[in-house]
């Protein structure tokens, strides 16, 4: 098989991931785009590893580690996304404007804070 086949696949997958990152508004969907990008990287690494006959298996090892990193990232992402959801009531990246440059900076709970409160007292709580 020509070496460029997996490389081309990786390039296209990477580009699709970039598209996903740019176009999605939901934080979790953005993250899916990132996962596609990381997988593209792994294809590259594994293909090069096979091509180079790397005695250290640098490519494969790297790919393994990247998978683990991705898992750790997603685990943390879950917590962060839930944190945002609890305080804002949504995880829409475009609507997270509480820190924007032009907003009056002295109101930490203005604007989004209203939804934040309703989210906290909403049915999501079981106590």
């Amino acid at each position: 098989m020509p070496l460029w086949w997996p490389l081309l696949l990786a390039s296209l997958l990477f580009a699709i991931g970039v598209y996903g990152v740019l176009v999605r508004r939901n934080a979790v969907l953005v993250l899916m785009g990132v996962e596609l990008m990381l997988n593209a990287v792994n294809i590259n690494l594994v293909a090069f590893d096979a091509h180079l006959r790397d005695v250290l298996h640098g490519g494969q090892t790297f790919a393994l580690f990247i998978i683990v990193i991705a898992a750790a990232e997603v685990g943390l992402a879950l917590a962060i996304v839930l944190l945002v959801f609890r305080s804002h009531g949504h995880i829409d990246v475009d609507r997270l404007r509480g820190l924007a440059d032009r907003d009056p900076p002295t109101e930490p709970s203005g604007g989004d804070g209203v939804t934040a409160h309703s989210a906290l007292t909403g049915p999501g709580r079981t106590r």
């Binding site: 490389l7 990786a10 990477f14 991931g17 990152v21 934080a27 953005v30 993250l31 990132v34 990008m37 990381l38 593209a40 990287v41 590259n44 690494l45 293909a47 090069f48 091509h51 180079l52 790397d54 250290l56 640098g58 490519g59 090892t61 790297f62 580690f65 990247i66 990193i69 750790a72 990232e73 943390l76 992402a77 917590a79 962060i80 996304v81 944190l83 945002v84 609890r86 305080s87 804002h88 995880i91 990246v93 997270l96 509480g98 820190l99 924007a100 440059d101 900076p105 002295t106 930490p108 709970s109 989004d112 804070g113 934040a116």
Partner: protein, 487 residues
């Protein structure tokens, strides 16, 4: 045959990692931290831990220790090298982490941050920062970089009941993982061309003309883009101001000093060690990034009334200054100027953040007008902040800040004179907002707000101020070893 390990060489990060676990366990078994008075135990342990990490680091000065080697017979190339270059960054990390841990006590007294976990995350992140400075292969480098970032995401979100903190965390997280993915793409291409992930063999392969060259160039560019996110170079800086303002102030301080230093170490290692022979490719690119970064950072800082946001933009601008020597990296020793600037910037910037953390106890809004008359109300705080600002602006009596700029000019003038001129203009622009803040400090004020000065934060102010003054009087003490560390 398993690898032999030089335990003294890895002692620094190891001590930090073990302290992290210890802090976590103690916190778990001794119960809720605010049940006890102040809950300073984790912070004290953290400071103790970084001090402990400093001991092996100090012992190693002037030596070169390599371990985790994969070469035949346990020889080069090695994954973990401790030399003077590494140690300079270890010093920055140790100092920065210690000061941030002290600052954290202010946030904890505010009662919104769980102390034990906060210290654990801080120490884990610092472990990564120490490891990255010693890493000499891309696998370790990438993993260590993630160890720096991942706890930092959690730290950014670690303020209870503040929606802005959560927002800061998610923005920081997304930008960072995207940048990591981009950087990894670049790294994978470079690996494919050179056939190795070790930096020095990589450089040798490229020098010997490993091909295809275009793929290597593409890999280099993607890697730079990814790392540019980490150091917040324009146009990859958008997350900085939001994250700094939203996160607890101690985290902002950590991000602007230790985490940023880790990003720069990554950049120096990858570009200066691994892709050195490609300097002609990346030098112009980094030069443009540097020029954009400092100009945008300074211009946007001009409009800020909120001081943490101002510090955020100013840290963008400072990142631009630190990038300047990269544009002259083919001259020997130029990158040492970046290191020198970074080392100086570390304690000067931490000084500003430390005072801001204390003032934040009375004025959580952190408006610039909240600082009016600080010098008269609280002379110690006021003078410390004034000194830090003057040094950030690069003027006497903050001689050390001025020399930081001298060092960078020294590297850039000649190979990249135009960039030095751009920086000169920027230094002047930067003065405007530092002067504005300075003016507030010394202005007359009516009200006398009640500042609480938590012991830890007070100590942080004192330590950074003292460092600034001592190094301003004896700059050679700091600059001579730092600039000699990278040849």
């Amino acid at each position: 045959m398993p690898q032999s390990i030089d335990w003294l060489a890895v002692a620094g990060p190891l001590v930090l990692a073990l302290t992290a676990v210890l802090v976590l366990l103690l916190d778990a078994f001794l119960g809720s931290p605010h049940a006890r008075s102040g809950g300073h135990l984790p912070a004290m342990l953290t400071v103790l831990g970084v001090t402990g990490a400093a001991v092996p680091a100090a012992l190693l000065w002037g030596e070169r220790r390599a371990t985790f080697c994969v070469g035949p017979g346990g020889g080069e190339p090695c994954s973990f090298v401790v030399d003077d270059f590494t140690l300079v960054f270890w010093a920055v990390v140790i100092f920065g982490t210690g000061v941030v841990a002290l600052l954290g006590t202010a946030a904890v007294q505010e009662g919104r941050t769980p102390q034990g976990e906060w210290c654990f995350l801080l120490l884990s992140s610092a472990t990564g920062a120490m490891t990255i400075a010693a890493s000499r292969d891309l696998v370790t480098l990438v993993v260590a970089l993630e160890v720096v970032s991942l706890p930092a995401f959690a730290m950014a979100g670690l303020r209870r009941g503040d929606p802005r903190s959560a927002e800061a965390a998610v923005k920081f997280f997304l930008v960072s993982v995207i940048s990591t993915a981009v950087m990894l793409m670049g790294v994978s291409l470079v690996y494919g061309v050179t056939g190795t992930v070790f930096l020095e063999p990589m450089d040798r392969a490229l020098e010997a003309g490993a091909g295809p060259r275009n793929v290597a160039v593409a890999g280099t560019l993607l890697t730079i883009v990814g790392l540019a996110f980490k150091v917040a170079a324009v146009p990859f800086h958008m997350w900085i101001p939001d994250t700094y303002v939203g996160a607890p102030i101690a985290v902002a301080a950590y991000l602007s000093v230790v985490s940023k230093a880790a990003g720069f170490v990554g950049l120096i290692l990858v570009l200066g060690f691994g892709l050195r022979s490609f300097a002609s490719v990346w030098e112009p690119l980094v030069a443009v990034l540097a020029a954009l970064t400092m100009t945008v950072g300074n211009l946007l800082a001009l409009w800020q009334q909120q001081v943490v946001r101002l510090l955020a933009w100013s840290s963008v601008a400072q990142a631009g200054y630190i990038l300047v020597p990269f544009a002259a990296a083919s001259t020997s020793g130029a990158l040492a100027a970046s290191m020198g600037y970074l080392a100086i910037y570390a304690f000067v910037n931490l000084g500003a953040f430390a005072v801001a953390a204390v003032v934040g106890t009375a004025h959580p809004g952190q408006q610039m007008s909240d600082y009016r008359g600080l010098v008269r109300q609280r002379p110690a705080l006021g003078w410390a902040l004034g000194f830090a600002l003057v040094a950030l602006a690069g003027l006497p009596p903050g001689v050390i800040g001025l020399l930081a700029k001298v060092v960078v000019f020294n590297a850039a003038a000649g190979p990249a004179t135009w960039l030095a001129v751009v920086m000169a203009v920027n230094v002047a622009i930067g003065l405007v907002y530092y002067a504005r803040w300075l003016f507030e400090l010394f202005a007359a004020a009516e009200a006398r707000p009640a500042y609480r000065v938590p012991a830890g934060a007070g100590l942080a102010v004192a330590v950074t101020f003292l460092a600034g003054v001592v190094f301003s009087v004896f700059p050679g003490l700091l600059l001579d070893p730092v600039l000699a560390a990278l040849r």
